[in-house]
Symmetry: C2
Subunit: 102 residues, 2 copies
């Protein structure tokens, strides 16, 4: 069966806005180093026009490409990912994920 | 000033699930043809594990890369984009957007 590439799109809302820089520069790069990640892009809300349909309220977003659903599953169990959660989960109040088959 | 690359991440919830194929294969490709779009990726919910933090409820997602905020603004006014809205907006009940500076 052909591999199904996908995007694992994650949005974090932090408890404290003053942690954004540390979270962006020290925390989420750990996720990008996980071995099954094909491409990792971290970002923050873009300064685009305010419209009802646009949610600018999150603090940090990660766009993570995987070459297959299996690679995403492996990522969920990856020690570096679990270390990220253990070390930084106290910083976020909400996390929201969309998994997209592409 | 340096250009700010960004991702314009859009999720559509359709009124009728039977329109997904047409929306994915005929409607959203119009967006990908807009001239300021740097990269366009359309997708559907991936068959990943059901978890509380993962929203699999949308029908179609578009991951649209722009080289600058200005390119995204131009896209909003692009005739082909407006034609897409006029032709297909009756198909969706909800659209949600996250703009990410990367």
């Amino acid at each position: 069966m052909a591999k199904q590439p996908m995007i694992h799109q994650v949005y974090f809302w932090l408890h404290d806005e003053k942690n954004v820089k540390e979270f962006l520069n020290e925390a989420v790069p750990m996720l990008g180093k996980c071995p099954t990640v094909a491409r990792f892009i971290a970002g923050v809300p873009a300064d685009t026009e305010k419209r009802e349909v646009v949610d600018h309220s999150y603090h940090v977003a990660c766009t993570i490409f995987f070459d297959s659903l299996e690679d995403q599953l492996a990522y969920q169990k990856e020690p570096l990912h679990l270390e990220f959660i253990e070390k930084y989960s106290h910083m976020w109040k909400t996390v929201k994920v969309y998994d997209i088959a592409i």
